[in-house]
């Protein structure tokens, strides 16, 4: 799911969401002891390491295009099943909305996250996004996580 979010956010040049979900993607990979290759988002020759990754990335890229196409959804369905394909389409659509809300209201990303992820962001070309310099520090460590959990609940 996070590879869909990162691809859509990258396509919309949303620095905040690209960074946040790149972190989520890599944290999951680290926790489970697998390698994930985010460069696959911009390089079709690279294997993301994710089952169905190529198809999921194509679906997300279609979502960002001016004419989203059902064909990539069918290809995800063929590889991962129909429900997974619908879920991927839903997630891609949600981030077509969220990226716009974030970008139009100037939500700053976290400076520490941005610094830590800089090499990966550079490889993805995300440091050239218009809002890559829009970052902030939080007054109390862990505040964002606590508030996010509370909102989710």
């Amino acid at each position: 799911m996070e590879v869909v979010v990162v691809t859509v956010s990258h396509g919309n040049k949303c620095f905040y969401c690209t960074l946040g979900h790149l972190v989520a993607l890599q944290m999951t990979a680290n926790r489970k002891g697998f390698m994930v290759e985010p460069i696959a988002i911009v390089d079709p020759e690279t294997d993301s390491g994710i089952p169905g990754g190529r198809e999921l990335i194509a679906l997300a890229q279609s979502a960002v295009s001016i004419s989203p196409d059902p064909a990539p959804v069918a290809r995800v369905a063929a590889v991962l099943g129909e429900e997974a394909a619908v879920t991927a389409a839903e997630v891609a659509s949600a981030f077509m909305m969220i990226n716009r809300i974030v970008e139009a209201t100037g939500q700053p990303a976290l400076t520490k996250q941005s610094e830590r992820m800089q090499p990966a962001l550079e490889r993805l070309g995300a440091m050239d996004f218009p809002h890559s310099g829009l970052t902030t520090t939080l007054d109390k460590p862990g505040t964002l996580k606590r508030v996010a959990s509370r909102l989710k609940a």
Partner: protein, 183 residues
């Protein structure tokens, strides 16, 4: 999915805190036109129309000076509502297009003047370009106008946070090796 769409269209068609129902539907139409999906036949102030087009086409090109300029001309409440409506319609259009359902007809606007704003507790300038009630999170980005924040959050909850989606992935993502990717 249909109840969500129906609820969302109804939420867009009614008068908001800053725009009438007709104006909100016009914002949705203008967002579609900016992406080549429909023709726009509504009346919106020039600066509002420009903002909608930019958000729809190239959201990352919105910058702080543009937001200040638009907010200075149409007001914060109208700007936040405009961002919400334009973003939501693009989310829904993406969904229906990806599923091969085509573009849904925009709702008929409900008549009446914009409703009286209520005071929003804890709303103040923080780290973003518009005042919010809390930290820089998408779920609070539109908190200056709670009804549109709620509308956007409902979509986010259903399309991204819905726990039944997680269950779907667990069932369909196949081997144990693949499952870790999603959680």
């Amino acid at each position: 999915m249909e109840p969500l769409f129906s609820k969302t269209w109804s939420g867009i068609a009614v008068p908001g805190w800053g725009w009438t129902g007709s104006e909100r539907v016009a914002i949705a139409a203008a967002a579609r036109e900016a992406r080549g999906l429909a023709s726009f036949r509504g009346v919106l102030p020039d600066e509002a129309l420009h903002a909608v087009e930019t958000i729809a086409r190239e959201p990352a090109t919105v910058d702080e000076s543009m937001v200040r300029d638009v907010v200075g001309k149409i007001g914060l409440v109208r700007y936040v509502e405009l961002v919400a409506v334009a973003s939501i319609v693009i989310g829904i259009d993406t969904m229906t297009s990806l599923l091969g359902l085509g573009i849904e007809t925009l709702p008929e606007p409900t008549g009446g003047a914009p409703v009286k704003n209520s005071r929003v507790r804890n709303l103040r300038p923080r780290k973003a370009w518009v005042p919010t009630t809390g930290l820089p999170l998408p779920r609070l980005a539109l908190s200056a106008v709670p009804p549109v924040q709620e509308l956007a959050n409902q979509i986010l909850d259903r399309l991204y946070m819905d726990p039944t989606n997680h269950a779907k992935w667990k069932q369909s993502a196949g081997s144990p090796r693949s499952r870790w990717k999603w959680w």
